[in-house]
Amino acid sequence: MANNDLIRNFSIIAHIDHGKSTLADQFLLKTGAISQREFRSQLLDGMDLERERGITIRMHPVTIYHQYNGKTYELNLIDTPGHVDFTYEVSRSLAACEGAVLLVDATQGVQAQTVANAYLAVENNLTIVPVLNKIDMEISRPEEVKSEMEQVLGIRPEEVLGTSGKTGQGVDELIVALIERIPPPQGNPDDKTRALVYNSHFDSFKGVVIYVRIMEGRIRKGQRIRMMGQGTEHVVIEMGQFRPNPTVVDELGAGQVGYLMAQIKKLDDVKIGDTVTDAFNPAELPLPGYKEPKPMVFSGLYPSNNNDYESLRDSLAKLRLNDCSFTYGPENSEGLGWGFRCGFLGMLHREIIQQRIERDSELELVQTAPNVTYEILTKKGEIIVVDNPQKVPDSGQIEEFREPFITINFLIPSSNIGDIMKLCTERRGLFSKTEYLSPIRAMVTYDMPLAEVIYDLFDKLKSLTKGYGTMDYEITGFRAEDLVRLDILVAGKRVDALSTIMHRSTAEVRGRRMIKKMREEIDRHLFEVVLQAAIGGRIVARESISAMRKDVTAKCYGGDVSRKRKLLSKQAEGKKRMKQVGQVDIPQEAFLAVLETGE
């Protein structure tokens, strides 16, 4: 078993795309964990969606070995995602480490998630090894970026190393710095066993694979273990380390990182953040663990075809085996029939989940417009949690309508400060502060309703700043606001799945925009289709789609029949992802009409 002094545990953290996974490749190559022949870029990004999108979605731990000063060091590194939706993965990774490589792209400089992730590392008392990456690029500006790092994060320029994940330049020096600067893990292998469950995944052959960081004591194959939080006991049937392929070991001791399997069937039976101890010689107190992330964005997911409800349920259950951070529960919509209300960590997470379901199950899905969670204090003094606009009671019963607020940081070129302020003011933002990173870059902080952020703020930011702006946010709590439910009536009937919650001041304008957009998206029918927007029973806008007057093929003889059948069948299927509400076919685009900003 490894001596603690020869172990280093660290995560690679950075803003999205700053090169974490590419740098991890260099670690694998330089230490011989993989050969040139086995190599492919961003090797740890193993999921199909990760490879397709070129981003990291899940954390990826790997154990490598390095000779230094005549000794072999065990380095446990965790590659983490950079996107804000997956911050939870970063915080879990950090809790399993003593150090963090904080990468900053030398061409981009400090960005919003650089700051957010650096703060997370500081909160976890980790030693930060600051690194400027992509120094091979001509347009890199190391000195400026170093001074930004000093300005915002208090990092001394002389501590900053330089690397290129592409050429491998500076990686040897980085490995040495990691060994020298990051403290070895503390725990004693002879104490009572406590291991942190920092991740898990579901393997369709072997069941649940639990990722552990041993804090104290040790775990052996065949040992009977207890999950302190869940109170369940299991026997370890296999354990090992990712090097990067799963490699079986007989024992892991304090300070080490690895995986174990104990014939656990469902991911839900394992709580991330739980503590593993010895069943016969248990520790007294569990480790602090994590706060569970709360999904903040919700939307309804319905099969286009009502008969697919059960298949959808099965594939949600299957997906949840692999991703506990999304939630789902059955819901019934008058208009759409049976479906599920799903909760996601953010918009990207939502998009990815939907894509995975459609891909795994070949189901066609319709999703309703996303909304955040609201809280309603009723006149009777109860608090209702509203994750679905359908749950809003009559306005007469509402004492207070509350929505989640966030603190949002924008890292932007100083020249865009005015634009961002205008954007935030339009979205009910309250200015908090501006800080200059350098004469040309600034961090602007606002308090804002989360609902104003999830739809398109990120895209707006990107276009206003020509791609140079980034943002990061954190939920701060709920506040009472003047909120209303905007209803949409199709052919005179309210379609519950089209209702949305919004601030009274914008509801009318958005209602009008919404049904205009719907009018464009809904095809003509055999009858006139009237669309209306209403607030509390009062109609605020009306559009109509006139009836189809003529649709008939003049000639249809022998040879044309099959051709015509194919044509009509294709047209009958209509746009992909469509839901029939009453007699009206509503395509996916119309369900998302509320996202239309009218620009």
């Binding site: 029918h525 003529k550 008939v552 093929t553 003049a554 003889y557 044309d560 029949v561 009509l568 009958a572």
Partner: protein, 394 residues
Amino acid sequence: MIPHFPPTESTDPPWIHPRAAYVHIPFCAHQCGYCDFAIATGKDDRISAYLEALEWETSRWKQAQKPSFLGTLFVGGGTPSHLNPGQLARLCDLLHHSLPVRLGAEVSMEANPESLTAEKVKLLAQSGWSRISLGAQSFSRGTLKSLDRPHDPTAVRNAVTLVKEADLAVSLDLIFGAPGQSPADWQADLGEAISLGTDHISTYGLTYEKGTPLEKRVRLGMVRPVGEELERRMYSMAMETLGEAGYEHYEISNFAKQKKRCRHNEVYWANEAHLGFGMGAAGFVGLTRNLNTRDLERYIRLCAEGTNPAFQSETLGPRERVIETMIQNLRRAEGIESHRFFLQTGFEPKAFFKAELNPLLGQGFLAQDDRGFRLSHEGKFVADAVMKRLIRCL
């Protein structure tokens, strides 16, 4: 076409065993603006080779099958009347040998007014033809011009007279919704077709098929299609005017005097089996649809080599059969006849289409009785949309 008395006949139902044949003659003097049929212009020197190929294809079928006598034979195009009298005689001859018809069979040929001479009409009448379908399209010079048709209105009148004198049934094709055509123009066309004593009239709303010269002109903004409302009105005028004149509206685009329905086309609308010969022709035999190559040279070459000129063949599954039968049947005044539909497809149509049938009946697009269901007057304007709704039941 001297009719034969049938010897032993197949006992298979008409949707399995064909009793109708279509023969395609692709040659035309010039391409009309809206035409996307399988045609060949400027290829008159290939007519003789083509007839040879046709002879091979039709006789090959005759050898393969036990002799079967046809109830209907339809020679279409293209422009069959574009053949010169010698070629036409040869065509009659080869059909007589390989595609014998039974007594009382309907034998039709499509003809264009400008090429149908007295000599040709006489030849056809003597060879046993019973019906001529004339591509008149319009009696208005302006409309004919906008459609890029080479004949003038007098040619149509003359042709009708010739056919009637030979005692053959005559049908006229008329197009409405041509660019620039007014309701008054259309009314005049209908009036003239009636007053000529035509037995059968087909009215077609002009469509702009991809790749046709007319469609290209629309794309370039040189021609503006008439609006949906006007098209609807013209269709409505046809139903009203022809109805009053004693024509039965027996299919979406077809009107016939008593006993003058086109029986060959009724085979299509019943979705029954039929043979197809010639370039681009379609056959439907034993639940398999075959489509011949649309390439003239290829057709001639394949037949000369003794190879089947079909380029596409699709055997229909139950689902496809149900849809196609529904699509075709609904075009007829009779609509879907429950019992026959059941025999033909294995599905009871009212039960099968239940989910959409009731709303469509309620909205007035379909009508029903105990024999079956059919398009209502309103439903005829939006037949495709109604069919699409029914397709959804699958």
